[in-house]
Symmetry: C2
Subunit: 143 residues, 2 copies
DNA sequence: CACTATTTGCAACTTAGTTGCAATGGAGAT
DNA sequence: ATCTCCATTGCAACTAAGTTGCAAATAGTG
């Protein structure tokens, strides 16, 4: 993905284009798994980013619907962008997370309407507005 | 539920019967929603329990499969027991959590095999071993 | 270029949860 | 009932993730 496309995404979400935001978004766009604050810090590597700034950047992205947060089993946050095939991020309320028991990576992908409908009326009297499905197992790379 | 039944559950899970465990299990058994460490401390009230002991008690219960932990959106742990109709706890890998957007209570209930099957093969190459479904919405009491 | 609102960096703080260790106590054996 | 051993408990100090306040820097607009 070109640098200009990263900028375009930021502009589309009404965010000022800054070096940090570009760097962070770039990392997220090129990852197929959800990343923690520490993962992102590592990936950025050299030109170290202040931890507070990174938290704020991620929270801003999340508030604008550009990425979303997943709380892990060990009570950390993971952050992931969801891109449609055309590389434009979509904000999605209904999605699934697959957590690999072996490598502990978290994969994130949308869930079909068809799969959702089966769950929608689980219990009398509970009005379901959005949902997340967490799957634990073994990812293709670890099998 | 009688005090002797609480003891029986502990024994059944190979846990020594102690006053603290009895108290904590009693609180969990009588709650229809998942409780945080702080919730449990509050419910116990007077005869204050050391926070470390409570964490250890909850983790022990969790390891033995007597209760299970849910990570909340605000990165706290909630703890819940799952009872079958006959009031014997079941250790269940596949279950759903319903989080009320209004009162923020978390309800926990098993998911039918039928509902599960729809999700099991979401993505090629991912071997699903267990799953959790999170539903966000409005609980009956808040409608 | 100049101006303003937003973003960034630093230091200090908060809070959930953990670790180490000594004291206590449950429950099976005698 | 008492002894003994090992699991459990309580306390203090610690860790680590994430937040807050504030001053300095900077994007974007005219």
């Amino acid at each position: 993905m070109l640098q200009s496309e990263i900028s375009d995404i930021l502009k589309e979400f009404n965010l000022k284009v800054t070096p940090i935001r570009t760097t962070v978004l770039n990392v997220l766009v090129h990852s197929d798994v959800a990343l923690s604050h520490a993962d992102i810090t590592d990936k950025i590597g050299d030109e170290s980013v202040d931890k507070v700034t990174l938290y704020r950047t991620l929270n801003t992205f999340n508030e604008k619907g550009l990425i979303h947060k997943v709380a892990t089993e060990d009570r950390n946050w993971l952050y992931a962008i969801m891109l449609k095939s055309n590389k434009i991020p979509v904000s999605e309320h209904d999605h699934a997370h697959f957590i690999c028991n072996s490598c502990e990576k978290i994969f994130c992908f949308p869930v079909s309407q068809h799969t959702q409908s089966g769950i929608a009326s689980i219990k009398e009297g509970f009005k379901v507005l959005e949902q997340e499905i967490r799957l634990h197992g073994i990812c293709p790379a670890c099998q």
